[in-house]
């Protein structure tokens, strides 16, 4: 009896620990971007939409999609929509400066591609004597780590300028404000924060524009009552939530039945979701909030022997190549990867005392079918995880550095 009770206790302790472990894993998924263990099932809809949907922002981005951009279209990473400018005359200074970069993570192919491009841009600016060095701290998708990173930079970094790619909007706001209080230039890019204290905030048009482009594309090709499966990476990240908020609104208006799932970009989950959906009935369209895993989605249709769907993915080469191979009717929305070059170029302008846009909105143009061949040709030899609009063709090390994925 004693032994039995003991082993029951052991078993329960073990189960308890297991639960604790499961809890840890789940917790993590909240702060992770891409490749997180999120599960699959229809996501709750109504509340989420109203929470993330912002009519003013939606309208603004709707307009920006067709807006005129200042600057050379050959260098889209320097283009911007005319608006308020920040005067940087006070920052003007001679000599090479030290840049401190607080990066959210490089845990998905989009961020890896951008990170490589950024480092090649850094080399150019170092050769020109603009930047002496860039000290980088990778927060590995953890907001707390990134806050600590920024505070470290402020107190001990000897930084002349801060570049911050925030992990989360609300959580990073106070840390960015502290960086601003140092009086040194602060450049924020990609995801935003809830303060405009930064010298400039660099980002492509945004999530609503992505949602509008993609949902309109699918709606034009589908009939009322057709079924679209929406594959989303994870909840809670503004740029991703806004993509879906816009798309869901449009699908609703057009009478298209859309079911959304969180996949964690895990191809196993994606395949299961599509297989289950195909077992329930036909699926005419697939919408994705990021291209990671698009290939698995198409494969699920192939494996089930069903007609391939109309689809929106991303400008990741794996998707573009599968698009070409299968000849599906598709669109590749772009969350301009070349934005990773812009922060360092902004730092250059700041120390030169040139005025820069307070909110630096970069172009964000999807790749339609007629441009597919061109983009594939331009990126020949690049790995599947590469992004077509990475914008680093004129940088040193092209194309080997990107082909070899030399991640510093």
């Amino acid at each position: 009896m004693t032994r039995k009770r003991l082993s029951t206790a052991v078993a329960l302790t073990a189960a308890g620990s297991l639960l604790a472990m499961t809890a840890c894993t789940t917790d993590q998924s909240i702060s992770e971007d891409g490749g997180s263990p999120a599960a699959s099932a229809p996501a709750q809809t109504e509340e989420a939409t109203t929470e993330w949907f912002d009519q003013a922002l939606y309208d603004e981005q709707f307009e920006q999609r067709t807006a005129d951009f200042e600057g050379d279209p050959e260098q889209p990473w320097l283009q911007y929509i005319a608006g308020d400018m920040t005067d940087t005359a006070d920052f003007a200074a001679e000599g090479a400066k030290k840049v401190c970069f607080a990066n959210a993570s490089i845990s998905n192919p989009w961020r890896q591609t951008g990170w490589i491009t950024m480092n090649q841009q850094l080399k150019v600016l170092q050769d020109e004597g603009v930047i002496s060095e860039m000290e980088t701290r990778d927060a590995q998708d953890d907001s707390n780590t990134q806050i600590a990173d920024i505070d470290y930079f402020i107190s001990e970094g000897n930084c002349d300028a801060f570049v911050i790619s925030p992990n989360a909007t609300a959580a990073l706001t106070p840390a960015v404000e502290r960086a601003c209080e140092t009086g040194k230039p602060v450049v924020v890019f990609d995801r935003g924060v809830e303060t405009d204290c930064a010298t400039t905030f660099i980002h492509p048009i945004g999530g609503f524009a992505w949602g509008i482009d993609t949902a309109n594309f699918l709606s034009e090709r589908l009939q009322q009552g057709d079924k679209v499966v929406a594959l989303r990476i994870l909840p809670g990240v503004d740029v991703l939530e806004q993509r879906w908020a816009a798309a869901e609104k449009i699908f609703e208006e057009k009478g298209i039945e859309a079911t959304d799932y969180f996949t964690g970009a895990d191809p196993t989950e994606i395949k299961k979701i599509i297989s289950d959906e195909l077992a329930t009935g036909d699926v005419q369209g697939v919408w994705m909030d990021a291209g990671d895993g698009a290939v698995a989605a198409i494969e699920a249709f192939e494996d089930a022997g069903k007609d391939l769907p109309v689809m929106t993915g991303e400008d990741e080469l794996s998707f573009l190549r599968k698009w070409k191979d299968t000849g599906i009717d598709a669109l590749a929305p772009v969350y301009s990867n070349f934005q990773w070059r812009t922060p360092l170029l902004a730092v250059q302008k700041i120390f030169a005392g040139e005025e820069i846009p307070a909110e630096w909105v970069l172009p964000q143009t999807p790749i339609p079918a007629e441009e597919l061949d061109d983009w594939l040709k331009r990126n020949e030899g690049m790995p599947d995880g590469h992004y077509a609009k990475f914008g680093g063709e004129d940088l040193p090390g092209y194309p080997e550095v990107w082909q070899q994925r030399q991640i510093p």
């Binding site: 499961t22 845990s107 994606i270 077992a279």
Partner: protein, 369 residues
């Protein structure tokens, strides 16, 4: 009664005790290890009621195919759990093998065989390390495999930076993605189904071999097993190796099924442990059937599919998994305990007769516990 020690009478008792096949079958179903089959059947029926097209042979065989990796992982985990240990490194082994396949094979068909061999060697070595540290250095397996899980996860992240780089050659992916086509009725028999069948048969056979019996004895009471001359450390180490090898097979199937991504295999250890527990295998070792562990994996996946079809929000999934672990462990502990106390009349009567005193007093029947 005095003839109880007579071999012939003994056989008579056993014969009497064994009852009919039907009754034994029913009694088996009432144990946690048997009940999971009923649960699985109920879940499948529920799914088909909600969504009749799931009941088509082709849909069913595809469901089996895509559940094969987790079922194989559960079978591997079974060996470790039944020996009284845990293997938490499973998910990371899967992820590592997926990345190894993706990075080393690339588009080169000729590398498929050598890399496959390398993957099995890697799997065996990881299991060996887990096993030896647990048994010889006496570090609890919970800690050893947790450490191994983190170490491998770090290796995978270092190697890939946390992002996918591209899929290996299609010939390799066929193992997990393809199948024998144009089969009557079923339409297709996916290779994973065949591999799962082979693994299940092997595991079933192994548990009937002296190794399996010893493993069970070690899990029940390792001191007693050691006293009978079993090399406990080696028996357990081999269980860890079986687990890592099962994770390797699951990884190979997953590369084919889904493609390369660092998130493939994440959380597999918990799904496998949940499946094993759901299959009525007792945490702590010594009780449970290997095929019930596989059935547990199917029941778990069927449950998730059912929740999916019912439109239950994804965020509930970890909660469901957690509740299942607690309920299954509690139920199994209760049920096995009752059995041990002598809940079954037949078992008690057998025990009574065998332990009956050589000089019985007339009119009393005080044998047993």
């Amino acid at each position: 009664m005095s003839t109880i020690l007579d071999p012939a009478a003994g056989r008579e008792v056993l014969q009497h005790n064994r009852a009919g096949r039907g009754e034994r079958f029913l009694r088996g179903l009432r144990t946690p290890g048997g009940g999971v089959f009923i649960l699985l059947l109920a879940l499948l029926v529920a799914i088909i009621v909600i969504n009749p097209s799931f009941g088509e042979p082709e849909s069913l065989i595809r469901f089996i195919g895509r559940t094969a990796p987790i079922a194989i992982a559960a079978i591997g985990q079974y060996f470790v759990i039944v020996s009284g240990e845990f293997d938490l490194s499973m998910g990371s082994v899967v992820a590592m093998q997926v990345i190894v396949a993706g990075n080393l094979i690339g588009d080169d068909d000729s590398k498929v065989i050598p890399v496959l061999a390398l993957m099995f060697v890697l799997g065996a070595v990881i299991g060996l390390i887990n096993g030896l540290i647990t048994t010889l250095l006496k570090v609890p397996s919970f800690i050893v495999t947790l450490g191994m899980m983190l170490a491998l996860l770090g290796l995978v992240l270092f190697w890939t930076g946390g992002a996918a780089q591209g899929n290996p050659a299609d010939s390799f992916r066929q193992i997990g993605r393809g199948g024998i086509e144009d089969v009557p009725v079923l339409g297709i028999i996916p290779y994973p189904v065949i591999i799962l069948t082979a693994v299940a048969v092997l595991a079933f056979w192994l548990m009937r071999r002296p190794y399996g019996r010893t493993l069970m004895a070690v899990g029940d009471n390792d001191v007693a097993a050691a006293l009978t001359g079993a090399r406990v450390w080696w028996v357990r180490t081999r269980a860890f190796m079986l687990s890592s090898l099962a994770a390797t097979v699951a990884g190979i199937l997953l590369v084919g099924y889904a493609g390369v991504h660092p998130s493939v295999g994440r959380g597999y250890e918990f799904t496998a442990i949940t499946a094993v527990v759901l299959g009525g295998v007792v945490l702590g070792g010594g009780r449970g059937w290997v095929l019930s562990a596989a059935a547990g994996a199917f029941a778990l996946e069927a449950l998730f599919t059912l929740l999916n079809f019912m439109g239950v929000a994804s965020t509930w999934r970890p909660t469901v998994q957690g509740v299942i672990i607690i309920v299954a462990v509690a139920a199994a502990a209760q049920s096995w305990q009752r059995k041990r106390r002598g809940g079954s009349a037949a078992a008690q009567s057998e025990q009574q007769r065998i332990t009956a005193a050589p000089e019985p007093t007339e009119g009393t029947d005080k044998g047993g516990n």
